[in-house]
Symmetry: C2
């Protein structure tokens, strides 16, 4: 009997740490249907003229809980619920994943505990708490969230919902690829380049994998804040690197994960076209454009992809490009800065 | 041969000044399909909980040119184009109708002239001009736009595109009713009350008429700025009244028409459930809520309906209510005030 390397890998890797299949993503599409929002794919002829391309934005800040994270959280918890394994959940998040998990837990009527860093935006902490989740704060620089999480999960018998490195979370985020491809087709076109933000890499991995599986020619590019460019460095090194040491903060609070995950990185390494980084100032300019040209409120992390396009870091000339504006949860003080940018 | 009163009316009233039929609206739905945006119908569970109702917002600020006006302008100019009668167009507008007409003229490759009041928002003037339209400014208080318009139209052989009092414009706006009803059905629900802003009354008349024709039980309510409450007074008096004299300005620049039109008023008188007025402060509060809870940029006039709901002027308790957020073209200075409201 011959045993291939992938057979062995499948046997030793737990199910949820294997890449999602097309069936996983199709299942996720079914599960989110009617619960989540099919967010619109918008364009502005003024912006197109200015950039010399056709640019669509996927307005995912209009998603439930204000970010794409609702896709993965809902998909994962729906699966757990169907298996009778959804009692209580725990997760760590600067805010968007936490809100999504808290919201889904509220809908399923189970308790949620969310670990949030001490510097998480006030808006996000408030909203997570309003969904009835218990919040545990920790120091991003001095404490290890994973250790705190494992202890709390064991003590209270809670199921951990990963923010990105999980087949079900990635499949949930990959529903974006399916929707974008369908919406572009409805508009009589196709997407040459899809630009998404990357923190842990769930969205970038899911979209890159699924675009390939759908048989599209869509290149998927990821963007990171300039001091949190672990993905770019990891892709260059061919191995998973971290954002080590104390670094200057970024206004992109949702893109400051210490690194991508073993699963998301292994997928991105294979399917992603590349990663580029953007500055805080470029992000503010992108937030302003989203406000003035698209009528959308976008949070800093959610505007990183658009910033990469506007700053010319991703070549869009004469192409058909889609950017995911991934979230809208922003404190008023930062949004005011963006309008003035 | 018997001749009914409605027969006589039909014979003496020009076609475009008669109320739209279901066929007119269905035609408009077909004409805008694939060109305009099917804007999303969004809800926020946080807002629902706070108001004790189910509130949907129709995010029409995401429409082409940033307002619902694109519906009527596109429908009217498509019909003129199909009849070989689209050479050049003229319209008067504080900005949204002007932008919509300028945009449509640009798409059809014909010249547009837009008369804009001296106090129109800078953003709107700029954007209208960017679509290639010629702008003629006039003094809202001292000059009569209709007289200037007639003279220019005659001198240059331009076709006048009414901002509201036209069967084709009303049919275009009425496509909102069709979309909202369809979208509510897709969400497994129906709308008890639909709240729209009123300036000239095209949207309110179109939606009220079409909701009745669709056989829904949806009540349609209109909102006006407090010093521009001609509709409320007209409905009470049973005859068309104007906002006479010099009045305090309103931040709702798009809702300051001198009066509704003979056609829109005759329709609203028959089908509208009522009109309520809102203050500038209530409008700013509504803009803030649209920003913080829905991730949407809404201009003052576009937020009047939401202001009426939030201020309790329209009873929503335990009902299923939809508000049209009709536009997003707002100067940064005013938007900043709203965020701070």
């Amino acid at each position: 009997v011959e045993v291939s390397l992938s057979d062995v890998r499948e046997r030793v890797t737990p199910w949820h740490l294997q890449p999602p299949t097309v069936e996983d993503v199709e299942g996720a599409v079914r599960r989110i249907s009617g619960v989540l929002v099919r967010t619109p794919l918008l364009e502005s002829e003024r912006v197109n003229r200015r950039l010399g391309c056709r640019l669509f934005v996927k307005a995912e800040g209009l998603q439930r809980t204000g970010s794409f994270k609702a896709r993965g959280a809902w998909n994962t918890m729906s699966l757990l619920f169907a298996e009778g394994r959804l009692d209580g959940v725990i997760c760590g998040s600067s805010g968007n994943h936490g809100q999504a998990v808290a919201w889904a837990a509220n809908r399923f009527g189970v308790p949620a505990l969310v670990m949030m860093p001490h510097d998480a935006p006030a808006t996000k902490v408030e909203r997570t708490s309003e969904w009835g989740a218990e919040i545990v704060r920790y120091d991003r620089h001095r404490e290890n969230r994973d250790i705190i999480g494992h202890r709390l999960a064991a003590q209270r018998s809670l199921t951990s919902i990963s923010a990105f490195d999980d087949r079900r979370i990635i499949a949930g985020a990959a529903t974006l690829s399916v929707e974008i491809t369908d919406q572009a087709r409805e508009l009589g076109t196709a997407v040459d380049r899809l630009v998404v933000n990357c923190s842990g890499g769930g969205m970038a991995a899911g979209c890159a994998l699924m675009m390939r599986r759908l048989g599209t020619a869509t290149e998927v590019w990821a963007t990171e804040p300039e001091n949190y460019d672990d993905l770019d460095r990891s892709l260059a090194a061919g191995t998973l690197l971290r954002n080590d040491g104390v670094r200057p903060s970024s206004i992109c609070d949702s893109l400051m994960a210490p690194s991508t995950g073993p699963l998301t990185f292994s997928i991105m390494r294979e399917y992603l076209s590349g990663a580029v980084k953007v500055s805080d100032q470029e992000v503010l300019t992108a937030m302003r454009l989203a406000y003035s040209e698209f009528g959308l409120v976008v949070e800093p992390g959610g505007a990183a992809g658009l910033a990469a396009v506007l700053s010319g870091r991703i070549d869009v000339k004469d192409r058909n490009v889609t950017v995911v504006l991934s979230g809208s949860n922003v404190d008023a003080s930062i949004f005011r800065n963006a309008i003035d940018a």
